[in-house]
Symmetry: D3
Subunit: 237 residues, 6 copies
């Protein structure tokens, strides 16, 4: 079977604790198995230059890992003088995914920055960051609405993400780190709570896959995301 | 219909001229419509530290755009002190994609660096870079085989890429720049010459898509890549 | 009296939870009031070049703040291309302080890196980092001793730190952020569990202080550190 | 005689193809033997801060080499975090030289950036860049004049450059790479089409030269530049 | 005894030559034994953004060492791409210390930057920089007052600094480089001419100290600073 | 006549004080009028990788300006993260010029780094740096020869430099800053003590010059350099 002993379509346990950072407009600590990500949403009453005056808002994200979130200590990106290619890719993905669930006109000219910092890593950190990041975003938007600064809810639907991969010829849901390092093909599926697709990133390192396998992975992703959306709804209720 | 006036499933004209850089082990200038990319393959008899002694080779890629390849002049990355996030993402994609078509054991402990420099841009530069990059790689490997340095052909199959997107609700093949800027959903499909999938990157900026639409895009991609592979075969014949 | 309503010589509540990072050799989450710092100790069987072959070990530290640990979001240091002057000063202080409690000969040629990441800030983060950092270090060293890799305990005594300052002419112990921003004179006292002084940093921003005041601050510091050392002992028991 | 087999005062064949970059206001591909440089001129309706409000325009230049333009692959400057000293020197020279042929008052408050990117290098790239850069500049200015944005021609005369050197005691014109690496003394002469001198850079690496030799080099330079100016005139006719 | 042969409480000879940089508003070359620091004060009629409009001025400092100021040549910080941690710590200290002697309201909205460049180093460079930096500041302020731009003297008192340390169990004043490298405990005391304390930085590298020793060091510091203040007064008379 | 009131062919007063930096193998403070440059030569018993094992030595140079060496304060290069283009050009020129006077075989496998730091600037700093840099180099080489580490004198001849320019149509020798900023054409001539030319850099900013003018400038340069060489000889006698 799979290294973790889970069924092929079995997610790890998911928990989302909200309100964990007293300064942030919205925050949560999401745990997907041993992967722990601290997410905060920070509101600013200004937007990037390229949309100034458009009446539209902006949602962006940043991602980081604590040096010892991983099995052996990683170099701190602040000391190496820049964010690595992987970090930049991930934070662009988180921002793009969250924006796909936002009506930016309804948000109005303000910016929300979602910070996702991995305290402990065991595979699937970017998916946990998107899923938890949406919860932080939801809480910050709730605050705006309660204050009357925003009239129409700018959040169209939940946004959640899960990884899938092919391991020993078998499609798997929600890979942990040992599974991820062995899978020749893996990827991330970002969906909205209403089932629409936002982003698919399937990638084969030294391997390939067929259209039939692609369809099976898609089925698994839909299963996983629906469970994550349920956890999100409970957390923000 | 589509801004370019092409049919929904119609590629732009493709040409591949080889042997254009006298110092490189392999090189070509690929033109996909007005998108022109100069590709070279550089051989080195050394490998990165992480595979030293493994008996395996490595293929990597770098990507750049000339400042005035675009409609308005872009800042030169060498002057801004680093490669931007987009550049890093693209060159990681090119390297990963090309490696999926390489038997690294057969290549032996040597590295081939594929440089893809965009002389003129009109959408789809990363796909043209992958398609042209494979031709440069093929020519460099031919040289190695002719010299007897490599016995078994390390190239398993061609690697080629095409973009698809959804524009005004319609799935389109091979988007040029005006189409790309209007499409709410677009992505890149990288396939091998034998039809296997290597990488799928579908992404919606401020939009979403359904599973049915995903299947249509996949059909278009298969059509486009088979034409590109034919052009590659002619170029290296 | 003081903004926080505490007595002049009253510390905030202190808690230290150990074993919070599964990959680290030692770890804790220290909370001093609303200041929360996650500390980990990472062991490596190598030392910096300048002591290679000396038979001695090394202890070093790094410090960071999550962007939204503060009242308004700070820029992430990884994106600004370098660690700021304040960060560098603090992490040099943490490393220097911890080393003053270590018999580096007894540690042997290995390095322990203590990472202190501020999850939430409310004044005194560097003091909390030193106090919590020592706990993480203690736990990592315990592991080395249990494994028999180290025979003699290399930790001479506890190392703990507290801030003191002068606010409205009155000497205060353990300043929170509002107190710290109002105090004209403030500083940090790092002591060992046996009462020896390791480091004193008193500094006046736009103010000065007398020798008599200096003596009062020293008294407060001794009171505070003895409470912190008690909390450290309980945590590692 | 000389390694290339040419006569001492013989230039390599020169060709200049214009209009090769569809987005640029002016562009050309100049080939001097195996040295190939792609030049573009980009117009902006703004000037650098230090001449804002002066009524005068500005011409500046940037220079780059593709990684495999050279015999062995060079590191891409964008990845090394900055432009090297040689690149900076060359692009400052190109900009300064072109400005010596421009009436900046007649140009009016606008900036033209000339990008010179070496596709293939075989010695004399900076001279080819100046000569080709002037052609791109000429074409961009023609466009401005045709549009009526500029009334008086701001280009006073052609600007062209050639290298000369002393090899085995003999003065040579237009050194290719093998000649350049052997010459103890070499330099660049930048002249206007009307014969006036703009810049002389003679430099001896581990050697020296006499005033008599300097005069001979000057004669060669005048011969070479007059041929280049002829080629420029034909190209822009 | 001590390595230098001086008495425990004996300073090195101190000289301060003023007016050594013709462009600066105030300047001096301070020599404390073989430690030579060139100090200049530069006046600008603008302030940093964070105090704009406050009516208050600002005093800041920068510090550098010539590459061969030290026994073996150090790398130039301009070539290593940034100021090291030690440099940043020192220049923050100089600025903070000088500001403690300034009435920023009386100075008015202008900035004075004090540059301290070490021409020759033999221990105690930061203390010499503070002491000499104050002289440069005094001279620049005199100029402002003579010109009538400032009515009330913004300098409250002199600011001077001296190092003390514990060597072989003995407290020493004004350590030179050989003494400093051997001392287990050392630090810097910054005082005003009126005897008030501005900053204390006592630090033990691999050692500790007691409260009794701390008091002895404080006595030494008061002795040393009073001699430095006398030298400052003579220099600016 | 000329702004400084000097005759057209009149140098500023030149003084060279040696032995001014106690740690350096050779050093001097050169003053050419109000331009003051501190030069040191640092010896290392290692060479750069590209000549390791060749039996030859290396001479290199670095150049810097103190922030307030100029009329208005310049930004410190260490804080701006890199050396500017002008600095890099100048230090490459100094190194290249000095090497033209060195028999690198006779020097043997060792490196001498010449640091030239401008304490006060009033035009012609790079020429003063070369002239003073040679004196520091001479003194360091003398030390090597006295110690018997080098048998044959590796210094072939003196190396000295002077600037010339065309101001109001008149050729001038040794321009100070006000003259330099007004001259349309100016440049630097580096010669050996035996009259051989090492480097010529004539450059016109927004102007041009004729061959006849070039000859006049050359005459002036020869006059100036012979006076500088005399000063060098006196200084090292």
């Amino acid at each position: 079977m799979r290294p973790s002993g889970r069924n092929l379509s079995e997610m790890r346990p998911v928990s989302i604790e909200t309100g964990v950072m007293r300064h942030a407009e919205g925050s949560c600590l999401i745990k997907v198995g041993h992967t722990h990500v601290l997410c905060s949403a920070s509101l600013e009453e200004r937007v990037p230059p390229f949309i100034k005056g458009s009446g539209q808002g902006w949602v962006t994200a940043e991602y980081g890992m604590l040096p010892r979130s991983t099995s052996s200590r990683m170099r701190r990106e602040a000391t190496s003088g820049k964010q690595g290619g992987r970090t930049v890719e991930i934070q662009r993905l988180i921002g793009r995914s969250l924006r796909a669930g936002v009506d930016r006109q309804a948000l109005g000219e303000r910016q929300i920055t979602v910070d996702c910092d991995v305290l402990q890593a065991d595979g699937g950190t970017r998916c946990a960051a998107i899923t938890g990041g949406w919860v932080a975003l939801r809480l910050a938007v709730n605050k705006l609405m309660k204050a009357g600064d925003v009239k129409t809810d700018p959040l169209i639907s939940e946004v959640a993400a899960v990884s899938c991969g092919i391991y020993a010829g078998q499609p798997l849901l929600d890979l942990d780190y040992p599974e991820d390092s062995e899978a020749g093909v893996d990827g991330n599926f970002i969906l909205r709570g209403d089932g629409q697709l936002i982003e698919i990133q399937m990638s084969a390192e030294g391997a390939t896959f067929s259209r039939a396998q692609m369809a099976e992975l898609m089925d698994l992703a839909e299963t996983g995301v629906s469970q994550l959306v349920e956890a999100q709804r409970k957390a923000v209720a």
